[in-house]
Symmetry: C2
Subunit: 440 residues, 2 copies
């Protein structure tokens, strides 16, 4: 994408009403726009990051057998009354309104109830189970305060999955497979080394629920961390019997601030009993379905990535979620030779399968470099007058600041090697499949 065609602008100053570092940087770089406190619109660069995170989460949810669908924002009162979660005194984040005929409606802050109610149509027998369904949904929560930027919003994107199993054993196997999938997700978005499986209160049905907490000064939670064992304990369950069960002692634990980027929860049969979701087992008896729920805050995860990697110059995106992998910066916009060289390289990079963000704007070189630092694309390629003279491009790593000079041919080949290898592998696989013996 040519940066001249990107309608957002960077700004030097953060908005005065914005306390959180993530929102300050995202707004300054033009990734998000603040509509009101806790409510952010996602501009082209920001939306690309959201979609990259969603793609990774989707791949991992599909891999454990999840099926993607999408529920609705509008919510029925009668469904939520069955679990006693309609009343504002029970759930204090509802936005509510009403239809023209006076029927009250709510706006979805969570979706366990409507999806479980819906499953009564699809689940009747043990043969219909298990069911694993997930969605990426815009949740609406009437939070009293919203001052953590995109990490705690009144409107935000969440991935929520729900599992329906016949019994605790098959439920536990799936639950554990999701723990593994979540750990892979946090690895893939670059937060693996600072994200910990955390034991938290389990509610009525089970001893523990599990949170995934990313250590960060921007966090609103406090956890007790055992770095070597790669686990943590939430304050609410810091009890002697829990420590003993987990095989740790209090003095081994480190108290740190953290962001809850994911959580998984075993509801057992409670919600199914409340909502009347049962199945017939092989003996023909009606048995309540075992329900689990599995959340990842997509936009919160994006905010956590910003908070985790940003430096004093701006954001630093891991390659897996960066809006672009490469930032091509043409340094001398009024020099026709430099412009022609950069234009050609831009097209060649696209042909090589790596569309860069291309700073073709008619602004000073210093401003371009400051903007590139702020935007935080992992690899920067600089085209200046020197490039034409020496035949070498400056390639800068945004995270480390490391610079190396390489020729255009080397640069293109380094990307092409990856892309062509992927394509050749695909063709070979297809050809191989075509030549295998077929049963005819």
């Amino acid at each position: 994408m040519r940066q001249s065609q990107l309608f957002t602008k960077t700004r030097r100053e953060a908005p005065k009403d914005e306390e959180a570092k993530n929102a300050q940087l995202l707004i300054r770089a033009g990734f998000v726009h603040k509509e009101m406190a806790g409510v952010y619109a996602y501009m082209p660069l920001g939306l690309k990051v959201v979609e990259n995170i969603k793609r990774i989460v989707r791949e991992e949810m599909d891999a454990v057998g999840g099926k993607e669908m999408i529920m609705t924002a509008l919510q029925r009162k009668d469904v939520w009354q069955q679990t006693d979660r309609w009343d504002d005194e029970k759930v204090d984040v509802w936005f509510k309104s009403e239809l023209k005929n006076g029927t009250e409606v709510g706006f979805g802050w969570s979706h366990e109830e409507p999806i479980t109610e819906m499953m009564k149509q699809y689940i009747a027998s043990y043969r219909d189970l298990p069911v694993y369904a997930y969605q990426f949904q815009t949740k609406l929560r009437n939070e009293l305060r919203a001052k953590s930027g995109i990490m705690r919003g009144r409107e935000f994107v969440m991935k929520d999955m729900y599992s329906y199993n016949t019994d605790e054993e098959t439920h536990a196997a799936f639950y554990n497979s999701v723990i593994e999938a979540y750990l892979r997700i946090f690895d893939r978005v670059g937060l693996g080394d600072r994200t910990f499986l955390t034991f938290a209160s389990g509610g009525a049905f089970t001893q523990f629920s599990h949170e995934f907490q990313t250590v960060s000064d921007a966090g609103e939670d406090v956890i007790y961390l055992h770095r070597e064992k790669k686990i943590a304990i939430n304050k609410e369950v810091m009890l002697p019997e829990v420590l003993e069960k987990l095989g740790v002692t209090e003095d081994e634990l480190e108290e740190v601030k953290a962001v809850e980027v994911g959580n998984i929860f075993n509801f057992g049969s409670i919600k199914s009993e409340q909502l009347g979701l049962t199945y017939k087992n092989e003996a023909g008896e009606d048995v309540p379905v075992i329900l689990g729920s599995y959340g990842i805050g997509i936009t919160r995860l994006m905010g956590t990535i910003v908070e985790s990697f940003a430096d004093e110059k701006g954001m630093i995106w891991p390659e897996s979620v960066a809006p672009f992998r490469v930032h091509l910066v043409s340094m001398v916009p009024n020099d026709a030779t430099v412009v022609a060289y950069a234009d050609a390289l831009y097209e060649e990079l696209i042909a090589a399968g790596v569309e860069p963000l291309y700073d073709d704007r008619d602004v000073r070189a210093g401003e371009k470099l400051a903007d590139a630092d702020l935007i935080g694309i992992p690899t920067r390629i600089i085209v200046g007058k020197d490039t034409i003279a020496s035949g070498e491009l400056e390639v800068v790593n945004r995270a480390t600041g490391e610079m190396k000079k390489i020729s255009r041919g080397e640069l293109l080949n380094s990307f092409r090697t990856v892309v062509v290898a992927e394509e050749v592998a695909a063709v070979e696989a297809a050809v191989e499949a075509a030549s295998t013996d077929v049963i005819e």
Copy 2:
């Protein structure tokens, strides 16, 4: 996808409270779930169709220079008051609620106002223009009645694009390019031959707006159609001077019912003046920006496709938007040879780049065929005992009912030819790009 893993079920009977054919069929086939009147959740098969339509629309919006972003559901009262569209007497489809501190908020039924307000941050000079921004947004509209299924919802997905230009001339050029893009979209989703550019009332600034109307008995609109000239006229502008301007006479026109699947609108400078969006021209003068808006109802389009092609047996999806291109049906679930053959063919089709919906369920053959008709995937491949004996598969075209018998090798090659050709072309392009002279 294995159909045994799809959690939705088909049903023989449509829900009693559902009048619209599109919703009856989509619910019966398990594509959507009705949460309340006009509010539908999209199950895996339904979501795939939505995403396929979005992909086509996205490609065409990108091709005219649109940049994708996403605004918010929550809306600020002060923004909408500036254009006098907050009051329920002016706009009768608002859902409203309030924050904990008593601040009133609305839920987005449209987004011209907030996006134009936002653009004041990004547009200051003629050098910042034009801007073309679009989103796929879940709109919330408090409709008095909602009885057309997914064709008129209280919650639905819309693509809305907004254009910001310096003057009427550049605006008109873009406006016309969007007309062309819209016609390509309706062609690509299979509705090209029955969708007409329709002249409608233009409001205060311009004589006409343009609608895209698909002729359908399920439509809520009446239009006057000139089939040869491929244009139509909305009732509200059926005036002698309009007919003359368009070069048609009343007796050449056919009165038909139609669905408004898209509309485009020239706001001129009205909204920019109301909201204070101006730019500095080359002379340094403040000039209001020219605004256009361009909508396509994504879920309405999906409903229109259902209404347009369904027959007495169920839905018929055009290949471009079908949830799967191929429906592989294993007819004898208790015959190990048939199952092994079908399982192997399923894997081979995936390897050939065509993931089918694979009916591997343990149900009667008649039920499978009835479900396949209802679901409406364009190409059906039937594996039965005959297949093993004869070495030939039955391939059935859902739309025409045409059946042909072909060998497994021929079948796989017919798909592979397309997929491999695409991959080879990609490799060749990359190799060619690699071998061109580089300026070094």
